[in-house]
């Protein structure tokens, strides 16, 4: 009688997650945290520029030998790159679909408007678009060298970085994006904690402090490089 008593099966786990607003937010939270983890590592790596060209270029070389001898030259790097692209795509697609839904859910605005929510919260969507465009420019500038000002030299990131931050627009684009990142992380990290169900009343202050601390740390760490080049500390 098992056939007759069995109630309808529910959709599979991936289907349930992707079809639900709560599930899509989970996708955003997880992909966001993966990117955040990468950014912390990236920021720490960037700071090696203050130890001079030898240290910095050697660090870039080491990244390509990561995981040897199991992995070959650049294998680990490519695994990380593929993972990051997947995270960016998942994050952006979910954000796009959820945003469209959110805008549709509130078709008519109130006549009496009030300033609402914090700056970081209100700018999540625009901040995300800025960051997406920045990533494209950043890769074309310092990874492929396509739009790099001056002579792009592979595996000589020290000079490449100095070239980029010797232009006014390089500094403007970079610093704008990093400030946008700070705001994005400020609301995003705390939101991710809520979405993953980690947040509760007693942990709220701690999570907000973490979010602000992370945002500040990342912004300061990333901004220090162009500031270093501009002030001549890095030359």
């Amino acid at each position: 009688m098992a056939l007759a008593t069995r109630t309808d099966r529910r959709p599979s786990l991936p289907r349930t997650v992707w079809d639900s607003t709560v599930g899509k937010k989970t996708v955003m939270a997880v992909s966001g945290l993966i990117m955040l983890l990468y950014l912390v590592a990236h920021m720490i790596g960037n700071l090696k520029i203050f130890f001079g060209p030898g240290d910095f270029n050697h660090y870039a070389h080491w990244l390509r030998t990561l995981g040897e001898p199991v992995m070959r030259w650049e294998w680990t790097l490519w695994v990380v790159r593929v993972g990051l692209v997947a995270a960016v795509v998942a994050h952006a697609v979910s954000a796009y679909q959820l945003s469209r839904r959110d805008i549709k859910a509130r078709p008519s605005k109130y006549v009496h408007k009030k300033p609402r929510a914090s700056y970081a919260t209100r700018t999540m969507r625009w901040g995300g678009i800025i960051l997406g465009l920045f990533i494209v420019w950043h890769i074309l500038d310092l990874t492929t060298g396509t739009v790099h000002p001056g002579e792009y030299e592979h595996l000589h990131p020290y000079q490449n970085v100095i070239d980029t931050f010797s232009t006014w627009y390089g500094n403007v684009i970079y610093i704008t994006a990093v400030v946008a990142l700070g705001f994005h992380v400020r609301h995003g990290f705390w939101s991710a904690a809520q979405t993953l169900g980690v947040g509760n009343a007693s942990r709220d202050r701690f999570l907000k402090t973490c979010a602000n601390g992370l945002a500040l740390l990342l912004t300061a760490g990333f901004v220090s490089v162009p500031v270093g080049v501009m002030t001549g500390v890095v030359s």
Binding site: L13, V22, Q194
Partner: protein, 248 residues
């Protein structure tokens, strides 16, 4: 008190609406906001005009029928329901904007009245417990730890007025749904449907066309019953747990 009211007037669901301006005089500061509207309506009826339609029922702040976005705030400037809002919160000569709840899932029926039956369908999809009918069971038969009872009660306070949806920039019903899910999911009586409840109610919420949560926090600020924002995180936790448990 003499006041200028700018009220949303809309003949029916299909008609175009607009703000209309009215003057009301001799308003006592002890009147409730709804009594002030009653005064306006009496004058409109005497003048042979159509009175302003608005929802109300108990006028004691416990039924969840009244609504109104007053000067951009759901239920007005005080943290209470519109029926419990008194005119002493306003000053003589003020201009007050009165609008209906705005959300795709809450279509305007007439003037300030919106259709909130989407909430009823969310409740139908899982806001219940399976219990044998008949005489009431012995009250002490099922022990409930005090913290759980408090948590359940905190969420049971939700009167389903929809202020959370009205205040949310995404027209999201997450705070309402989380209040209803958390209320039952923490109790032993709600345990048999613990997983299906949260999955079905969230699915119904999505079907109704409510937006997603961006954790803006406007809902919890507007809630006349003080349902806290972490309720949403608690429901997310239940939802994630249920997705893992139910697919067997």
């Amino acid at each position: 008190m003499k006041l200028t009211l700018r009220v949303w007037r809309q003949k029916n669901a299909d008609a175009e609406g607009a703000m209309s301006t009215y003057e009301v005089d001799n308003i006592s500061c002890d009147m409730s906001f709804l009594e002030m509207l009653d005064t306006l309506n009496e004058e409109l009826i005497v003048k042979g005009e159509e009175p302003v339609a608005f929802d109300h029922d108990c006028r004691e702040g416990i039924c969840g029928a009244c609504s109104l976005v007053i000067n951009g705030d759901a239920h007005g400037p005080e943290r209470t329901t519109t029926c419990q809002l008194h005119m002493r919160s306003f000053k003589d000569g003020d201009t007050i904007d009165i609008e209906p709840w705005r959300a795709a899932a809450f279509p305007v029926i007439k003037d300030l009245v919106v259709d909130r039956s989407a909430f009823d369908r969310i409740i139908q999809s899982g806001g219940y417990i399976s219990a044998p009918t008949g005489s009431a069971p012995e009250a002490h038969a099922t022990a409930v730890p005090k913290p759980d009872a408090d948590f359940a009660f905190e969420h049971a306070e939700c009167i389903g007025c929809g202020a959370c949806v009205a205040a949310c920039p995404n027209g999201s019903a997450m705070l309402f749904t989380s209040a209803k899910v958390n209320h039952l999911n923490v109790l032993p009586q709600g345990a048999p449907e613990r997983e299906t409840r949260v999955l079905d109610m969230v699915a119904q919420m999505d079907t109704e066309g409510f937006g997603g949560c961006t954790l803006t926090g406007e809902c919890a600020t507007a809630c006349p019953k003080g349902i806290p924002l972490p309720s949403i995180a608690a429901m997310n936790k239940e939802w994630l747990r249920a997705t893992r448990k139910v697919n067997r």
